[in-house]
Subunit: 319 residues, 2 copies
Amino acid sequence: MLMIDQLMEKIDEKSNPTVVGLDPLVQNIPKFIQTDAVKEFGNTRQGVSKAFLRFNLALLDQLHPLIPAVKLQMACYELYGEPGINVFNRTVERAHELNLVVIDDSKRNDIGSSAKLYAMGHLGKTPLFKGEEDVEKSDFLTINPFLGSDTISPFVDQLKENNKGVFILARTSNPSSKEYQEALIEGKPLYTKIAEDIHSLTLDNLGARGYSPIGAVVGATWPEEADQIRQAMPHAYFLVPGYGAQGATADGVIPSFDQQGYGALINSSRGVIFAYQNPKYQSKYSVENFAKSSAEAVKDMREDLLRSLSQAGKLPANW
Amino acid sequence: MLMIDQLMEKIDEKSNPTVVGLDPLVQNIPKFIQTDAVKEFGNTRQGVSKAFLRFNLALLDQLHPLIPAVKLQMACYELYGEPGINVFNRTVERAHELNLVVIDDSKRNDIGSSAKLYAMGHLGKTPLFKGEEDVEKSDFLTINPFLGSDTISPFVDQLKENNKGVFILARTSNPSSKEYQEALIEGKPLYTKIAEDIHSLTLDNLGARGYSPIGAVVGATWPEEADQIRQAMPHAYFLVPGYGAQGATADGVIPSFDQQGYGALINSSRGVIFAYQNPKYQSKYSVENFAKSSAEAVKDMREDLLRSLSQAGKLPANW
């Protein structure tokens, strides 16, 4: 089954279009985990990495029945060098054991030959002296389109070969995204040209339910555009950052969904994984049960999204 | 001394504006290194990584008297996971011992908070439970500007804090770069707008010789534009890929230099590091002396560049 169909199946299974960003930050890791890690591994990169792993595994344990997918922000792990990369890989493995789809949020790209190496490294197999090694990888990768189509095609080749997927940055959620993403091509903003190009790519890669494993990152902070971008890329699943901590509301992300309530995966990172610091959940669970606060936050987010989907007449009947 | 002045000092010391790309590829590693690595570590990622390290160290040993800097394409190392990252770091350390400037060619970026983590990870210090660890890092990092200025400023902050530098992609050397990089902003192509924005950033960061640690990546395959971009960013050093394997000639890269013969660092990767496979050098050195072929290739490249600089009346007097 194509990776996009596997994702949609899990979204239906959990009746939830939420992806949780496992983006650990040292200053927000619960104190008791910090204390234990320092005791065992010292105040070192190794220690922080072990704390991240324990944090992630506890979250996965509580959250996996509730969500279809997790997203790992590579910058959080890469910062810690080799032990950080180790935690990234072990988190991917555990998420797969728990039947979650995993999105590798690395936003990689480079010119042709290097793009191919990144594509193999994040979605494919590793070339050895003889043959290749099939290391466990994430299911989707985010990529940056700035360098143009000849740098995107190596990722498309690899995702086809390995039954994976990508989300291509079309419109990011940060305030400055307009500076370059609104440059004009034939009178239309760059992000709509990128959307058209992604649309062309999706036509060649359709899953059973009309979506392609080639999707798009569309920031939830620009709802007025999401509607237009949604129509421009009817076969591209949207990965939508910006809900919660970045200020987007459930109503704001609704235009990213199609009329049937599919087509968008809404990400929340800090709002979920650090929910134990939120007064709303603090009274209910001790710090030791931080992952239960996160589960509550996921349930609240799901309810919020489903309410808005319902109001918009987009709620899938079987949810 | 600002990092850009250190780089210029080394360029003068070696009378050479060449940077060598240490971009190992498993299929091009000399057979005797492959054989030894397989014997000791097996046909594994660890084995390939050890072969890359031996290859890099031999190249550094022969090339360091001839060049001011090396550039490491991260995709080559990241492909091999933790052992690959280890080789990247050990190569950086050895290059520093040999007094070379090191460029981390990772082309990173993401939205604000993640951009900061990438900036710390590649140019800064690593936050621990208490305080920070000062891990040895490269001197310059390549970054992708697509997401806009609020994603570039975390890198500027980190380079100032740690006396490092960046090269921001302005115009890449691949055929498809025109697709998005020529979108129009106020009637001018996006890459010139990016150049103007880089120019603004350089004004705040000038070294003793008029250049800023904030530079630009400008592909050598577009010489007719390089002249115009050179004028738009008089204080930005250019990292110029595309010489050799990508088809650009010495004459083609001349517009990237200023009238005094500074302002550009010309990269060659495959043409130098795999020179032992070039019939021109094969007759002179055995495979075991592959790094001597690379040294010859660097000398030939330098001669080629200096001849063209001289013809253009740009050759620095003291070279």
